[in-house]
Symmetry: D2
Subunit: 397 residues, 4 copies
């Protein structure tokens, strides 16, 4: 299993390389009768697009690569309703600029997956990162839009899943206002802070440098009792889903790492009964107890690393192979040896001589990924919740 | 799928409630011919045991419940070798003290899974947390010991997986020395800091309070190229595995949340060629790039929340049902309605009247979980790595 | 999980309805470095096509629907090699003739999946059977071609997977000659018998009737030891894969149902040592012992039912709903009730009044499915074997 | 994945070797609140036991090995109800007679899995077939009893799953009467035919020979709409489940292989409306259309091969290894080479010299497996149906 599928009942399989013919997804397990609004899917994709305009105007943080990202539904929907069969959806790549990448075909860009993919597969798709490109997340965003339809139609009530840039380029939001998120190109929940972020990002862009940030996600409207015991806890699944996004290096729920400094008395969320219903007085748990939603707002934060593509000379390694014959060693991959981990001496990638070099990345790249990752985090959260909701259908006799 | 299985090739299914007859695991996918040393499994369990002695003497941080935790292998091993068939292993519960818990059968302990399990299942196993108890992790530790055997025999080299308390009760390790870990009852990598932690924990114990902490895990000897693309990234799987441990509320890899403040130039790990082999000059990536190991040390940190069981009166909710008839509403669970999420009005747990109460937890409880979670984190990391290693066997033709 | 994925390591997900935009598949788990020959994939599709010509000329047995079935690879292949990432492949539908089916939108065709899909989903895609159409098998045939590449490149030797019509319209092959298969339009292994089959089929066509048959599959070149213990036995997986083909109603291995009449002495395949290698004197086991290949030829037969679409009036049931609003009951599918099985009174499909009617099917249809199922059986066998071969990679330390 | 788990939502994992410490199963996915009657589980096991008495007296067909087969539930049940957590269940082996098998440790019994397990794992558990022994089915029977509870409590109606010997030793039932099944030691649905079967079996026993048979299974009370589209069709899953039983070599549904000779007009099951409900006039489909139940009786037949253990000299192969050191080649399994399929020259099992021999099996063995497989077939059918029923919970919005 190569790891391109997420979910148990609501199952999303994505496919596609950055510079291949198309990318897309197949979503299996959409309950029959779910209303599928293809315009909502397209709107979600439009919001993720590199060139998407927020109301704040030009997006300083992100790349200029321009793709229409037009989704076409190939199957699974009839007269506007899910048939219960797989919904396949594709997005054709139109702006592929392969030449931009030809000079890096034999070099491993620092901070990128180039070296690790090469070690795993004995092979390189050097065209813009191939499968490891952030472009793959377009398929996730489309699937996330469908997931949200499933959640809301299952619950028969609306659910709010809102992520935003909490911090970027060292600058944090101070007065969190979720209504501000789409009013600035950082997708920050504080437009004043966003202004400072953009300033700092412009400086970094001029230096050819980049920056990271923290994204917070808040989810309202999820009933208590979602999540499975032991391994497939709700927070465990969210952690997997969010960490599966390329640049994310950490996640915390509720009080998170600060809980380490709290006492039990401070950290426990007391319960009150208000109008006959239980209410939590605080939310250090981030809405999840024992791996299941407790009915409180679900809150988590994700650490986003700086964009690895910078326009400053960097020291790295390169391999002396012919980039036009991407199989490094015709013999080795054909010998039927395992992936090299058990038998390093037969490892194709070990047969290649590496040498040190300085490299300078060219082309178009984001300075800070936060605003573009915001919709991806929302999408992954929706996918996890849709799956958990459907898994719960069989939880009781 | 109820979420009690982890892994794709190396698959661990755990079972057992805190106060049931036995707990244990079934491990499917152990390669035939793996040498299985049952004493190593038992030693791992002994190290996790509540009453385990570290060389430093009495363990101030942990509970006094005493279980022999004697593992019995039921299948899958013949003459000391794995047969390629499932290894089932059980640990009988002997110290069950059910009476300790009878007074909390109808109350939801703050910070525990009582309320969420009740909402999910319409049912309570009020005996010491049932399946949500930390006792379940014994099975993981046994499986982790087997996982390590698989890793080392597959790689034919030793691998070091070491977790330790980095911070507890607000006190951090200063001089990290992995040789100190087993020399103090906090399993801290700095025995001097450990002394201060223990002092502070003793104060909290007297107050009936508790505390959290941060555990760091460092893994050496893993080759580059482990991890699957897109969803089953190595860091995503580790995040899921670690967040599936009860008290863990966050995880970060390498620079983690601090990467948010770094520039790309600072954060990228440059590569050098030393003796013809690639070496990373720094390790902000925590040994994982693009979701795959890069050959560098794998480093992550987990946030551990304070023990929720404190001996201070707390405000919480309780339900007016008969704890001896744990099905809350005989009719509702028998109506075939879904798990209640889609049809709240038919939800068994919503038919029960909740009321507010003050509760005082009795019994024996840890003050800080860190020292006991250390072996669980190592075990989960080993399980993930064993699975990834076996998945990699089919990665190349 | 909606059941549109087959396989554990080599995983094939198909999508697409008979009259939707496109059908296709996503294949995850192809080992990186596998040479992918897209012409071989296209040739396999061409062989399955309704209008495909065998050397024998006009195919009497099959339908006249004409689709180019041109496969386009969307991802996963670079410079002719599998990247280790998902290979997505689509086939656009071009000859959709929706009008042909409009008169049957509210009737359940006897022998078809119309009624059962309606009961499961509360919904009908009345366009040519929707997802239950045999057209879906085009995606399987494409995936099977890739599977064969994986098998042969893994084994580094050629493998022969040959299915043929053993019996059709009551006429059996007598002198089996695998070289005859592509020489007659029945894909029978005996062209003389094929001639008689075709004669009988022509008579049935004139009567508006149809017929069934038996297909045999023989596989050479598979080493001993493929198949997993207990549930995922090689024969169990082959049985699932072959029974998942629409019209197949039975499968038997080796002596199969005749083994019921044999004694153990007759049925056991004795082993001889020839040139130091074990050889089986007979093959009643059909090449599979204890659920694993034994190195002998793998032999199985599949029972194919008569084509259910006949041009004779048939008694059946119909439902009084508006075929242009295919959700039968807007309220019911939106109520969040389960699939109707647990709560029949809320079942959308039970809210619809059924009435008896006589129906006469129109249009173009096969008389005997055997020649078109032959390549599908080969494809499914290849998919199972590729998966088992890759699963075996981790079978030993 | 080693194939010891069946099911998607209702998941059964079995473990245990014939002569190991214990065998058993872990069932994950039982809906919380299901009433679990442990006496029903034990009764099912008692019925499968080798020495089980049917009302007809001494069971001529089956072995004399006597095991109490006492099931102990280790987890997942509290106060008689499923908790929603895994139900683990173990059966200790008490009658292990290892010495009976020591003389066959280096020989491959014809018709058994000895050779194929050896080729797959490079290893032999020569104690009574190890994991490939029919003894493993005890765990399936226990799980099947739980599955039936889930089905009936989900549907809130009783379901009849009855298998019986239709043919054995060449003698067929003539007047099928399901009430006869437990009245004769063949579990035949015709006690007169059973008498003849027993006579013939006694003759075969005296000759040291054995025989096969055909088992039919009829299932009533299953609503229409169970089964998933494409790969996980109801008949496909039943085929897998039934073929996963050791001695089964074929399966057919409804008209099955005879459908090959029918015309479409004969084979299609017409529908009538009786009391406003659809009724099928015939049942050539065996209750399954398009891979989903159609509400009609589900009918299938399984071919059971003759018991391979006969007391007549047989020609077979043996290997010159030390049976007390079951790893055939210490070096090879430790080299990290794959399972031998890709790299035959490094294959441990190929390093062993094979030689031809005549062997004579000793000990206690069945003459005809049919009566003992009857409860296993019912159990596997129940497991499939429970899983399909729970999967259906999420089929509609």
């Amino acid at each position: 299993m190569s790891g391109n599928t997420y979910g148990t009942i609501f199952r999303v399989t994505t496919f596609g390389e950055s510079h291949g013919t198309a990318l897309g997804c197949v979503i299996d397990g959409i309950p029959a009768g779910t209303k599928i609004d293809s315009e909502v899917i397209q709107a979600a994709l439009d919001r993720r697009r590199p060139g998407a305009k927020n109301s704040g105007g030009f997006n300083a943080a992100v790349t200029a690569r321009s793709e229409p990202d037009k989704a076409e539904i190939l199957s699974g929907v009839f007269n506007g309703y899910a048939e219960g069969t797989p919904l396949a959806l594709e997005i054709r790549n139109t702006s592929q600029h392969s030449k931009d990448y030809s000079d890096i075909a034999s070099s491993f860009r620092p901070g990128h997956a180039d070296y690790t993919y090469f070690k795993k597969y004995g092979f390189r798709d050097y065209r813009g990162g191939g499968r490891s490109s952030g472009r793959e997340t377009a398929a996730r965003v489309a699937a996330g839009a469908v997931a949200k339809m499933v959640i809301e139609q299952t619950l028969k009530s609306s659910v709010s899943i809102k992520a935003f840039t909490l911090k970027a380029a060292g600058i944090s939001c101070k007065n969190i206002d979720l209504n501000q998120i789409e009013n600035n190109s950082m997708r920050a929940a504080d437009s004043e802070a966003a202004g400072k972020m953009i300033e700092r990002i412009e400086e970094l862009r001029k230096e050819g440098n980049s920056t990271g940030g923290i994204i917070e996600c808040r989810i309202q409207g999820i009933p208590a009792g979602l999540g499975e015991c032991v391994f497939d806890k709700l927070d465990a699944e969210l952690a997997k889903a969010i960490l599966s996004i390329g640049a994310v290096k950490g996640i915390e729920f509720g009080a998170g790492f600060e809980a380490a400094d709290l006492t039990g008395k401070e950290n426990n969320d007391a319960m009150s009964i208000v109008d006959g219903k239980p209410v939590f007085d605080t939310n250090n748990a981030g809405g999840i107890l024992g791996g299941m939603s407790n009915g409180n707002e679900i809150v988590f934060r994700a650490a986003v690393k700086p964009v690895p593509s910078i326009f400053i000379k960097q020291k790295t390694a390169a391999a002396n192979f012919n980039p036009d014959a991407p199989i490094l060693n015709e013999t080795a991959p054909g010998t039927g040896t395992p992936a090299g981990l058990g038998t390093p001496s037969d490892n194709a990638s070990d047969n290649v001589t590496l040498y040190q070099k300085e490299m300078q990345i060219q082309g178009r790249h984001d300075v800070c990924l936060c605003p573009r990752i915001v919709p991806v985090i929302e999408a992954m959260a929706a996918i996890v919740l849709a799956d958990m909701l459907l898994r719960n259908k069989a939880a009781r006799i």
